[in-house]
Symmetry: C2
Subunit: 344 residues, 2 copies
DNA sequence: CGCGCGTGTGAATACGTATGCTGCGCGCTT
DNA sequence: AAGCGCGCAGCATACGTATTCACACGCGCG
């Protein structure tokens, strides 16, 4: 290739073809198209015209090989969808949109992968130079997740994660404490005095823990007790929310509100309350978290805490790119927002 | 690089490093790791052990450059999400899951992009060798879409599209006619005699057209008239469904059922019917199409026609890969399935 | 009038992998 | 005993781009 061979055998035009047509050398073509200032305006225009005409596009593989970066980010989702892939967590999908958009604006491609579905390590992406950096969403098993994240840090992989800041890696997330507090304050304002909480409150799911902490803050501020018997553990799945309310009812404790750590839980909770003959919001007020699309279609429409996915996705991408470019990056907490509908 | 230089300056191990440690040449390493039978079992084992130990991974860019294929598919979505990316068509998301899974199983990466968000042509993906083939989902403006698809055919790009077979490119889709017919038959069985249809019925959206055609078949088979006054055009957006029902009501025609070309339309229709004091399914039976997640959370839960997204995504990927491998590929029509809930 | 400098371009080469061809040694055929 | 085929591995090189270095030219200045 170093020799001025004419490699344009038959197919795709190369920079050599453009060079020949423009009467310049291949390096000049490369420089011109990358906007190098050492190429004269006249030459550049000529080269660009020819490139356009031949529909020439820089070969991504060759360019990546030479430059050592692939201009691609990888999005890894740590959660098990159903086998047919139908039941993807809505939050993921909401974030995907803004991530894609921001990537596109910044000139990066986006690879997507479900961690459980890839045969090999998640770190493969960076090892094989398939991506310049990683975006981590969700986490199935917290212990496993944490171990993997620490490994990423150890091998200096560039990545950002969405969630609650936990000291490991750069983290972007919404203010779950404030969100939980807002939900609690709203319920208290509405006159609720016994607010149940459904969701993890332990360290396994830092985000859920923070939402619970926010609720507890609101209760204390209002001078209300934080009753552990009003707390039921549940994973973020509709069915688990349903079962959690049944357990709560079985305890025989009175409650006039339920704050659910996620909308999926809230959907299940609403179903269970309906079946038990408790009207929402008449007998029991209900607040969720996430503002998934289905939240506005429930009956009654679900009051919930919205995370700013649009901004979240953009910040994830921008932060990661800054990190790839060598900057030090920091955790970021985005505001959450109470969406008042009819369930409280 | 041809010379036995030791390029392992500092960073990532290369096949030369493995070769040196294993006491063989670089080509032998390459062959061993690709499973070439001309490498003896003993040598291969040794090389694999060393590669594993050094956490060596084949450099994707170099490999792609040499082999001329990138082992990557690109998913292009032709539809405008809201600016913040929050409101992505649920059908897209449902399909994404199974596409990702199948890609992963077949050893392909997946690039995702919204056509409107990429500055350059959609064809860039193949031109720049960023992907070996394209998957096309959705289409905003049919004329524009069709022109682009024809261009893809002209330049021999390998691609598959989801939708109604229309003679251009390989198309995978669900049987929209059968789905529409099933919806119609169900409504007729339930005693409905004046079935309104909301959605495009023209050539602009072939899938919608087919759904309408299916409904018409069912009506004719039952000896019922196909009344054009019972048809209202609407794009697949909640708000448009809402407005369509209002227009329908304004016409003053009686109807005892509405078949919506999509669930999003049906959501809007349900809202409009509720506001107009028509109970569902008491006064008006309602059937949608798509079975989006929100469909089961409406009040009453929406009866709808489900497309097999799980199989659809898998077929899209497998068909595309076959095409990339040089096979001739054919259109495929997947069965649709009526999901009976409470709205009819 | 010679020297240096800035501007624009070409020559050579590196990036890491994959593969066609060559070569070597060994066992087996005739 | 000479030749032949086969199993295995090395040599050289191609893939297409980006960058470093060298160089030619023109111009101003001393």
């Amino acid at each position: 290739m170093a020799r001025p061979t004419r490699p344009s055998a038959g197919d795709r035009p190369t920079s050599f073809d453009i060079a020949e047509l423009a009467g310049v050398s291949q390096p000049t073509v490369s420089r011109a198209l990358r906007g190098d200032k050492t190429v004269s305006e006249r030459t550049r225009m000529r080269i660009e015209a020819i490139a356009q005409q031949l529909n020439y596009k820089v070969d991504r593989a060759a360019s990546s090989l030479r430059r050592g970066e692939v201009k691609t980010l990888a999005l890894l989702f740590f959660e098990d969808p159903l086998p047919d892939g139908s039941n993807i967590n809505p939050f993921f999908l909401a974030m995907l949109g803004s991530i894609l958009k921001t990537c596109s604006q910044r000139g990066y491609d986006l690879l997507t992968s479900f961690q459980r579905w890839s045969a090999d390590w998640h770190v493969d992406y960076e090892d094989a130079r398939r991506a310049d950096g990683l975006i981590l969403l969700g986490y199935g098993d917290w212990e496993d997740y944490r171990a993997r994240v620490e490994q990423l840090v150890a091998q200096r992989t560039r990545f950002v994660r969405w969630g609650a800041p936990s000291g490991v890696g750069t983290t972007i997330g919404c203010d779950n404490v404030a969100g939980g507090r807002a939900a609690g304050e709203h319920l208290i304002e509405r006159g609720c005095r016994s607010i149940a909480y459904i969701g993890e409150a332990s360290h396994h799911y830092p985000e859920f823990r923070d939402r619970y902490a926010g609720l507890a803050q609101a209760l204390r501020t209002a001078g209300l007790p934080v009753d552990p018997r009003l707390h039921v553990d549940a994973l973020s799945v509709e069915q688990k929310g349903y079962e959690a309310v049944q357990r709560l009812l079985a305890r025989g404790i009175t409650f006039d509100a339920v704050f659910c750590a996620s909308d999926l839980i809230a959907l299940g909770a609403m179903r269970a309350l309906n079946e038990a003959g408790r009207s929402v919001p008449g007998d029991v007020a209900l607040v969720g978290f996430d503002d998934i699309p289905a939240a506005s279609h429930t009956h009654p429409p679900l009051t919930t805490v919205a995370q700013d996915y649009g901004r979240g996705g953009a910040e994830l991408v921008d932060t990661l790119i800054r990190q790839i470019e060598g900057e030090a990056t920091h955790d970021l907490l985005l505001p959450s927002r109470l969406v008042v509908r009819a369930s409280a």
